[in-house]
C-alpha cells in the first residue's frame, strides 16, 4: 500500500505546515470533478480502443488521477507542465478540452495535435502543456529547458515534469537533475511511482528505496507523497512549488500511486495478481476523496451523483465529437514541419523527388 511517511530531508528544507490556502467546497468539488472526468474519459477511451476506433498505443491513467489533478491544482494557469506518454490525465487536469483529446486518440484533424501526435503526444500551447513524450525519460531534459526559459525571462513561473518509476533509470533524468540543482532551476520532478514499468516491478528495476533518495546526490529537496490521497499530493506539491517559485530551487517528488489497467491496452498483465489490483482498489483516490467529502459534510451523495452524470456525459460527448470529426486531408501530411520564417528569407524547401 502506498505510504507517505518517509521524506528525505537532505538539501533545502521544506516546512511542514501546509502553505496552501484551504479550499472552499466549490474548489473541492472541482477536484473531484476533474478526477472523475479523467476516469470516465479513460473508460470511454478503453471502449473506443476495443472498437478499434483508437489504434496504436493507448496508456490509461486510471488509478493515478489524484497525482495529475492534485499537483496541477497547485499551479497557476501560466506554469508549465510536461509529461511522458501516459498523458491523458495531465492534459485534462491542465484544462484541455476533452473533445480535442478524444479526437486526437481517434487521429482526427480536430485533435489537440491535429491527428499527428496520437495518445502519447498531446500538446497545448494555450494551456502551457508541453507534451506528451514517447521516449521514456526524454522529457526530463526538455523540462529543465522550460524552467531555464522561465528563469531567463524572469517570468516567476515554474515547471512540473512528470516521469514514471521506470524512467528514473534513464541517463537523461540524471543529467537533468544535476543541471536543475546546479543552475537552480524552478522545476519539480514528479516520479509517478505506480509500482511498475510495463511488467517490471520497481524492486526489479531500481536500486535504492525510496526512489526519491536520488535527489540527495544532487543536494536537491526530496518529498514523498501518497498518490491515492489528493490532499496529501496537494500539500506536498505546494511546498515544492513554493520553493521553486520563491527561491528558484528544484525538488524531486515521489508520488506513490497504482495503475489498475494494463501498461497499455495490449498488456496481458501476467506479472501481477488480481488480488493485488483488488487490494489497491480499496484505496482508490476517487473513492477516498468522495468518502472524505461526505464525511466532512462538504456535499451530498446526490450532488456527487450529479457530477458523475455530468462527466460521464462529457466523456460520451467527446467520443461522439471524435467519431464525427473528419480525418485529416492528405495535404496536411506536409504541414506543421517547419515554422514560417520572419527574420530571414523563407528557406526554399521542396518535396524530394520520389
Amino acid at each position: 500500500m502506498p505510504t507517505a511517511d518517509k521524506a528525505t530531508k537532505k538539501g533545502p528544507s521544506l516546512s511542514n505546515s501546509s502553505i496552501l490556502p484551504p479550499l472552499d467546497p466549490q474548489g473541492k468539488l472541482q477536484l473531484y470533478r476533474q478526477m472523475l472526468l479523467i476516469r470516465r474519459f479513460e473508460e470511454k477511451a478503453a471502449q473506443a480502443f476495443q472498437q478499434a476506433k483508437i489504434k496504436g498505443f493507448c496508456h490509461l491513467y486510471i488509478g493515478q488521477e489524484a497525482v495529475a489533478v492534485g499537483t496541477i491544482s497547485t499551479l497557476t494557469a501560466e506554469d508549465a507542465v510536461i509529461t511522458a506518454y501516459r498523458d491523458h490525465g495531465h492534459a485534462l487536469a491542465r484544462g484541455m478540452d476533452a473533445n480535442s483529446c478524444m479526437a486526437e486518440l481517434f487521429g482526427k484533424i480536430t485533435g489537440c495535435s491535429r491527428g499527428k501526435g496520437g495518445s502519447m503526444h498531446f500538446f497545448s500551447a494555450e494551456k502551457h502543456f508541453y507534451g506528451g513524450h514517447g521516449i521514456v525519460g526524454g522529457q526530463s531534459a526538455l523540462g529543465i529547458g522550460l524552467a531555464f526559459g522561465q528563469k531567463y525571462l524572469n517570468t516567476g513561473r515554474v515547471t512540473i515534469c512528470y516521469l514514471g518509476d521506470g524512467a528514473i533509470n534513464q541517463g537523461a533524468f540524471h543529467e537533468s537533475l544535476n543541471i536543475a540543482a546546479l543552475w537552480k532551476l524552478p522545476i519539480i520532478y514528479v516520479i509517478e511511482n505506480n509500482g511498475y514499468a510495463m511488467g517490471t516491478s520497481v524492486s526489479r528495476s531500481s536500486a535504492g528505496d525510496p526512489l526519491v533518495k536520488r535527489a540527495d546526490g544532487y543536494d536537491m529537496a526530496g518529498i514523498i507523497a501518497d498518490g491515492m490521497d489528493i490532499d496529501d499530493v496537494r500539500a506536498k506539491t505546494a511546498e515544492a512549488v513554493n520553493l521553486a517559485r520563491t527561491e528558484s530551487l528544484p525538488t524531486l517528488m515521489e508520488i506513490r500511486t497504482y495503475r489498475y489497467r494494463g501498461h497499455s491496452m495490449s498488456d496481458p498483465g501476467n506479472y501481477r495478481t488480481r488480488e493485488e489490483i483488488e487490494k489497491y482498489k480499496k484505496f482508490d483516490p476517487i473513492l477516498l476523496y468522495r468518502t472524505r467529502l461526505l464525511d466532512d459534510k462538504v456535499t451530498t451523495d446526490n450532488a456527487l451523483e450529479a457530477i458523475d452524470k455530468e462527466v460521464t456525459a462529457e466523456a460520451q460527448a467527446a467520443y461522439d465529437f471524435a467519431d464525427k470529426s473528419e480525418e485529416p486531408a492528405f495535404e496536411t501530411v506536409y504541414e506543421d514541419i517547419f515554422s514560417p520564417e520572419d527574420q530571414i528569407d523563407e528557406i526554399p524547401r521542396r518535396n524530394l523527388p520520389l
Binding site: 529547458g145 522550460l146 525571462l153 504541414e335 506543421d336
Partner: protein
C-alpha cells in the same frame, strides 16, 4: 574587407547575433571560461556574461534537451557540441525532440535552435572523434543542415541559422578553423539553401561541401594544368539542397563528380546522385561518380587516414574516369 579566420567569422556571427537579440544564448562544454575548446566563443563570456554564455556539465543529453525546451519556451539557444561526434550521445534529443515536436504538436510549438560544433576527419584523432554526420541529420525531415567551407559563408550562414525559426544543424569543420579569407564586416547574411559556384568551368561539375570543397578546388587546379576545366559547386547547405544550381551546371557540363567526406553508404551524395539521374537523365553523358570516404572506420595512422578521406588523387582519378 577584413581578412579573418573561419573561427573568427563564427565568433563575429555569434557576437553580433547575441547583441542583436537578448533571447540568444550560447551553452556547451567549455564555451565560457575556457573560451571554447576550439576558441570559437573566445571573449563572449566577457562581453555577455554568464547568464548568456554558459558552461555546461559534460551532459550532452541534458544540455541539448535544455536548449530544445528553452527554444519551445521562446528563447533562441545556440548549443555547442565540442565536436559533432559527441552529438551521438544526444541523438535522441535532436531527432525525437527538436525535429519532431513541431509536427507532433500539430504546429503549436516552434524550435528555433542552432546546434553547432566541429566535425570531420584528417586530424588523426581516431574513429570516435572523426565523424562527418551531415547525412545522419539530413535524413531527418524537419532538420536543416548547413556545412560552410569558407569564412564568409561561416559568418553569413551562422547569422541566418540563428535567425531561423527552425532547428538547424550547423556543422563546422575542424580543419578549417584557421582558414583565412575575406569576410564582410557587420551585417552579412547568406541565404540558407543556396549553393555557390566556387570555380566556374565547362567540362565537368564537381559537387562538394565543407572540407571537401577545398579538396575539390585543389584537384580542379591540378586538372586545369591538363586542360580539364572543372566547375566546383559548394553546396553550403546540405538540406535543403540547391538543386536548381546543380541542374544549371549539369545541363552545361553533362558530367558529374561528387566529392563528400561521408562514408559511401547513404552519404549525402547518394541522394544528390539519385536526384540527378531521376531529373536530369537525358543530360548525362556518363554515370555520376562519387568520391567518398572509404567504407571503413577512421584509422588513427596519418597515411591510412589520408587514404580513407576523399583526397585529391582520388578526385582527379574520378574526374578522368567520368571524362573518359
Amino acid at each position: 574587407m577584413q581578412v579573418i579566420t573561419y573561427r573568427e567569422a563564427l565568433n563575429q556571427a555569434l557576437s553580433e547575433e547575441m547583441e542583436r537579440d537578448e533571447r540568444v544564448f550560447l551553452c556547451g562544454e567549455e564555451v565560457a571560461e575556457y573560451d571554447g575548446a576550439y576558441k570559437v566563443s573566445q571573449g563572449l563570456l566577457k562581453k555577455f556574461g554568464p547568464k548568456r554564455v554558459i558552461d555546461t556539465p559534460i551532459s550532452e543529453t541534458g544540455f541539448t534537451g535544455l536548449g530544445i525546451g528553452a527554444a519551445m519556451y521562446g528563447l533562441r539557444p545556440v548549443v555547442e557540441f565540442m565536436t559533432w561526434s559527441f552529438s551521438l550521445v544526444c541523438y535522441d534529443q535532436i531527432i525525437n525532440n527538436a525535429a519532431q515536436v513541431r509536427y507532433m504538436s500539430g504546429g503549436q510549438f516552434s524550435v528555433p535552435i542552432v546546434f553547432r560544433g566541429s566535425s570531420g576527419g584528417g586530424l588523426q584523432v581516431g574513429a570516435t572523434h572523426s565523424h562527418t554526420p551531415e547525412n545522419w541529420y539530413a535524413n531527418v525531415p524537419a532538420l536543416t543542415v548547413i556545412t560552410p567551407a569558407f569564412p564568409d559563408d561561416a559568418k553569413g550562414l551562422l547569422k541566418s541559422a540563428i535567425r531561423s525559426n527552425n532547428p538547424v544543424c550547423f556543422i563546422e569543420n575542424e580543419k578549417l578553423y584557421g582558414y583565412k579569407d575575406e569576410v564582410p564586416e557587420g551585417e552579412h547574411l547568406i541565404p540558407i539553401g543556396k549553393g555557390k559556384i566556387r570555380r566556374a568551368g565547362n567540362d565537368v561539375t564537381i559537387i562538394s561541401n565543407s572540407g571537401s570543397t577545398h579538396r575539390a578546388l585543389a584537384a580542379a587546379k591540378l586538372l586545369a594544368e591538363d586542360n580539364i576545366d572543372a566547375e566546383v559547386i559548394d553546396l553550403r547547405t546540405i538540406k535543403p539542397l540547391d538543386f536548381d544550381l546543380i541542374a544549371e551546371s549539369v545541363v552545361k557540363t553533362n558530367r558529374v563528380v561528387i566529392v563528400e567526406e561521408n562514408k559511401p553508404y547513404a552519404g549525402w551524395g547518394a541522394q544528390v546522385t539519385y536526384e540527378i539521374q531521376k531529373l536530369l537523365f537525358d543530360h548525362l553523358d556518363a554515370p555520376v561518380n562519387r568520391i567518398t570516404s572509404l567504407d571503413v572506420p577512421q584509422p588513427y595512422n596519418g597515411k591510412l587516414e589520408q587514404s580513407v578521406l576523399p583526397n585529391e588523387e582520388r578526385i582527379i582519378a574520378g574526374v578522368r574516369e567520368t571524362l573518359a
